[in-house]
Symmetry: C2
Subunit: 133 residues, 2 copies
């Protein structure tokens, strides 16, 4: 398991991208396709160098987006995403240790069309799991 | 510049540590000394493996702690810390690009007694800089 990205909810991903690029020197890695399930658009910024940690900027595209209420409370860092080798096995382990899964993994909805799942906040942190390619 | 740690404000660092250890399998790296300036105690958890990203759990120790108001609003992820080679040079660069420094580097107050500085939130994220050893 390794930290893969930090999800940040913002009002306007392009406006925020320019700020992160300018002030901190982050670099645009890619723009994600709009996600019709989560009703978000996303882009990915490289944070520093040498280890591939990514900042994922997320913008709600619809009044029904599940991240809209978070944005209305101010937005900001929304979740931490950990990359795992085998998402089914990791979910079983986490459930066995008392973690609760928000939704079972769905195909082709996460970063890079890989399988993802969310764990109900661990202490205060919403955790996403992303299966390695 | 590389992501060094994610600062998380919690009510009780030992209680939260146990949750992160149990559910996510994070490991305790060290407990920090109590910080008389920031009025916090801290501990550091290893996140995943192989790249040394750290979760810094922070607990206010006093009613005058600058992180208390953040805790009262719910706590959670508070800042991102980037490790830099030369903190003075990086601060000059960031100021030249429009960033604003909360406090200039202070000796021996950050992680591992290294020099730190804070940058006013970049978009929505409070940024700490930590000088490499």
């Amino acid at each position: 398991m390794r930290l893969h990205h930090i999800g940040v909810v913002v009002k306007d991903i392009e406006r925020s991208r320019k700020i992160y690029e300018k002030i901190l020197g982050l670099r645009l890695l890619r723009r994600g396709p709009e996600d019709p399930f989560q009703k978000v658009k996303a882009l990915f910024l490289g944070v520093g160098w040498g280890e591939g940690i990514v900042l994922e900027l997320l913008e709600p595209t619809d009044e029904t987006s599940p991240i809209l209420s978070f944005l209305k409370r101010g937005g900001g860092i929304h979740h931490l995403c950990f990359e795992v080798e085998d998402i089914d096995r990791t979910l079983e382990e986490i459930k066995g240790r008392g973690g609760r899964v928000v939704c079972e993994p769905l195909p082709a909805v996460g970063f890079d069309n890989r399988r993802i799942a969310f764990i109900f906040p661990v202490d205060s942190i919403l955790v996403e799991l992303l299966e390695r390619k």
